[in-house]
């Protein structure tokens, strides 16, 4: 007899939480199972789900993943990819992306980006939520019978506040409870630490599809402490592809006009051809760059040597090494103090990237872990910790960019310095500048530049209700608190009057609570139907398991049970069989709950006999 079956009968609902790597190119989920992190592989050999969403013209439900990706070339205008690069950004931040995207992106009056699909405006948060839903759905199926609704979601370490908030909102739209937002390189270090049992000072070099991060960590006694992080949220595989697309465009410049070179079908085909060629060059010294756009009578073929790609991407690799220098400098370390370098992200498969990193740090980087999977694995480990699974491991992460307030002169008064360990808080004192001033405006900024206008404004707020006093008399304390997710909350308080203001930061490039609410309601009808359907499948699977377990044990236990309990159980079993025809999850849930009630005497008896036989030295299998 197995332990799991007893568990089912006792209904000791184990909280299962998953780790999700919401990537620019691919997304991936992992779960903690049987004492270790396991990648969910819905397609068999790999678990990667392309982060691509296609919105069909006929109003059908959006397609997500491989099928959407396959159709990218047929329907470039409505097939959205690399949405992560738009999360929490404004139009001015993403000019280079817009030129490469075959779909149109606009900005609303609050700086929120929107993509026009068949006349409907969709935000990056909504597109990301569709990807999250798909990943979540596949994970739930893999764990049939369990409702996995909690998740640790990873973001690039260098994501700023609006980008993190956008990710949180996407999860909220997807109906996923976010246990924690953690940084990708930190997650990777957990997976590395668990796998290699390595301790010491470790650098994680994470070059993904759209973002680059480098983190310097100290791993000691199971504590993973980030010393410094640096990066670029606009530097990744996408940019490497664009270097190749630029080569194609140059070759075809005479043959095609500017219009044709900016045509969605051409851009999409060129991007996919470049990506394919780039990946082949990681395995062989030369590869074909082959591009066909039948509709446009374009057929292009060229052999690219690995050295050509190296030259084309060298400036991008230089930028990653600049970030490595910054991170080391912030950690106060030289390269010779680094014990290990861990490579993460699909783009680190490129041989020249590996060589340059090896040269820079003077040691061979670790490439034995699957660079596509380590982040999701690390997120699953953290999910396990957060659901009470382990106190052996502790993550101490940092905030990547300084937080501050704009001063009178337009400069920045830093309140929390970059690379401060989170959670953290700090309080800054302010006062009034004119007599009888009753309010002060604050502008919260994030960034390293000296002038507030060069930093990202996270929001403005006004503290009102200051009692009239001569200038300089009021004592205003502004408190910044950054929580373990890296999210900022600001409160202001005038100390003589005690008047406080909890700041409702109006997010730039983000969704307001109302907007999230409206979107949730709009998608509620659809979502409820999807959700119900899934719930029915899950409940039925659970019922079947319970039914099998009960039938198996009822025969042997029958004589030891009182007749009333046996009758209850038999009735419950009959109900269960009928419930298999039901379609309303609430009805099935009711059957399940009363079934569970009916199994309690049986479960108690089994527990008892297990205990007795164990004492009598009998094998569990004999019970």
């Amino acid at each position: 007899m197995g332990y799991i079956e007893l568990n089912v009968l006792n209904d000791e609902t184990t909280t299962i939480a998953m780790g999700i790597d919401l990537g620019t190119t691919n997304s991936l989920a992992a779960l903690w199972q049987d004492g270790r992190p396991v990648v969910i592989r819905p397609d068999g050999k790999h678990g990667k789900i392309p982060s691509v969403v296609r919105f069909p013209a006929n109003g059908d439900l959006p397609l997500v993943g491989s099928r959407a990706r396959e159709q990218a070339i047929v329907d470039p205008r409505h097939t959205i990819f690399s949405i992560k690069r738009l999360m929490g950004r404004g139009l001015a931040d993403v000019q280079d992306d817009l030129a490469a995207f075959p779909f149109p992106v606009t900005e609303n009056e609050r700086g929120l980006l929107q993509i026009d699909v068949h006349g409907k405006l969709v935000t990056p948060q909504e597109v990301s939520s569709l990807i999250l839903m798909r990943v979540h759905d596949l994970a739930c199926r893999a764990m049939s019978g369990h409702e996995v609704i909690k998740a640790v979601i990873t973001v690039p370490a260098y994501f700023d506040e609006p980008q993190r908030q956008a990710t949180r909102d996407a999860a909220r739209l997807a109906g996923i409870e976010v246990l924690r937002i953690i940084n990708e390189p930190t997650a990777a270090s957990l997976a590395y630490g668990l796998d290699q049992k390595g301790e010491g000072t470790v650098v994680v070099y994470d070059l993904g599809g759209g973002t680059f991060d480098v983190s310097v960590l100290n791993i000691e006694e199971g504590v993973f402490r980030v010393l410094a992080t640096a990066g670029d949220t606009h530097l990744g595989g996408d940019d490497l592809d664009r270097a190749l697309v630029a080569m194609i465009a140059e070759d075809l410049a005479e043959q095609l006009g500017a219009d044709e070179l900016a045509d969605p079908a051409f851009l999409q085909a060129a991007r996919l051809a470049a990506e394919k060629c780039k990946m082949e060059l990681s395995a062989s010294p030369r590869a074909d760059l082959h591009l066909m756009v039948p509709d446009r009578q374009i057929s292009y073929r060229r052999t690219i040597l690995r050295e050509e790609l190296e030259v084309a991407i060298a400036p991008l690799v230089d930028r990653t090494l600049d970030a490595c220098r910054r991170a080391l400098s912030d950690a106060g370390l030289e390269t010779d103090a680094i014990d290990e370098v861990v490579m993460v992200g699909g783009s680190t498969r490129i041989p020249s990237v590996q060589q340059r990193v090896e040269q820079f740090f003077g040691r061979k980087p670790h490439t034995e872990l699957n660079p596509d999977e380590v982040v999701a694995i690390g997120a699953a480990i953290q999910a396990h910790i957060l659901t009470g699974g382990s106190r052996d491991i502790l993550l101490m992460d940092v905030i990547p960019l300084s937080l501050g307030l704009e001063t009178m002169g337009g400069a920045v008064d830093k309140v929390i310095a970059r690379n401060s360990t989170i959670p953290c808080h700090s309080t800054e004192g302010f006062t009034t500048h004119v007599d009888n001033q009753t309010g002060i405006d604050f502008n919260i900024v994030q960034g390293e530049r000296e002038l507030a206008s060069d930093c990202r404004s996270l929001g403005k707020f006004k503290l009102t209700g200051i009692p009239p006093m001569p200038a300089g008399m009021p004592k205003i304390a502004v408190r910044f608190h950054v929580d373990a997710d890296g999210m900022l909350a600001v409160t202001a308080k005038e100390e003589s009057s005690g008047s406080t203001a909890m700041i409702e930061v109006q997010p730039m490039h983000g969704l307001t609570d109302d907007e999230v609410e409206t979107m949730l309601q709009a998608s509620f009808a659809n979502a409820q139907a999807d959700f119900d359907a899934r719930r029915v499948v899950d409940l039925k699977a659970e019922l079947e398991t319970m039914q099998r377990a009960t039938e198996k044990h009822l025969e042997s236990a029958r004589e030891h049970l009182d007749p009333e309990s046996v009758a209850d159980l038999e009735e419950a079993l009959a109900h269960t069989t009928r419930a298999m025809q039901f379609e309303d999850p609430r009805e099935i849930q009711r059957v399940r709950d009363s079934f569970e009630q009916a199994t309690l005497p049986l479960a108690a008896l089994l527990m008892d006999s297990v205990a007795k036989s164990a004492l009598a030295g009998k094998k569990l299998e004999d019970v």
Partner: protein
């Protein structure tokens, strides 16, 4: 050291109990040395400090209270934030000295703006080299000259910090006049750190340009 209000075991840190894992409220009124269970003073064993950070972090980190109620989770957040803040202060020699001078009733940097006299002449000279470097991106002073300046600043900082350390060992009496001299030395450190940061960012820009 006090005892745990829940199980009365002796506490290593006043923020959480190592014996019964209770989280203890009251981080707001504690000084950074008390949070780390250390006696107030200049000398800190950094390795011991790191060990304490890891040990105490394990007792109160919000990661272990994700499933707990709101009150416990908030307390875990607040206590860990206080622990992190105290660690950042204690592990930084300038911030530690600055805190001690204030705690002993000495002047803050807005009360005493002077720097040691001998220091001022050198500052003028260093500023000139830095200005040249700033204004002539790439083709400014020879790199060796900048490296030389970097070394000079490092040496100067170490010597100044040593004098500060000596002045704080043992801790001077509350309100002692020696605190004014220490504040002046700290002002020198402030200047040196700003110059070193600028030099570092020039060095990083230089590496980028190459």
């Amino acid at each position: 050291m006090s005892n745990c209000p829940a199980c009365h075991a002796e506490l290593e840190t006043p923020l959480a109990c190592g014996a019964c894992s209770a989280l203890i409220d009251g981080a707001g009124s504690l000084d950074p040395f008390a949070i780390f269970g250390l006696v107030r003073g200049w000398t800190i064993d950094q390795q011991d400090l790191s060990q304490r950070l890891r040990r105490f972090g394990r007792l109160m980190h919000p990661d272990y209270y994700a499933a707990a109620g709101d009150a416990a989770r908030e307390l875990a957040e607040d206590n860990t934030a206080a622990l992190n803040e105290a660690h950042e202060l204690l592990s930084d020699d300038f911030r530690r000295a600055d805190w001690l001078v204030r705690a002993l009733g000495g002047p803050g940097e807005s009360d005493e703006r002077q720097m040691p006299q001998a220091f001022l002449m050198e500052v003028l000279e260093w500023n000139e080299t830095l200005d040249d470097a700033r204004n002539a991106a790439g083709g400014g002073p020879e790199r060796t000259e900048l490296e030389g300046l970097g070394q000079t600043l490092d040496t100067e900082r170490a010597a100044t910090m040593e004098r500060i350390g000596a002045g704080l060992t043992p801790l001077p009496d509350d309100g002692s006049t020696a605190l004014t001299a220490l504040r002046r030395e700290l002002n020198a450190i402030r200047y040196l750190d700003r110059a070193r940061r600028e030099l570092e960012s020039l060095r990083l820009d230089d590496a980028t340009a190459r």
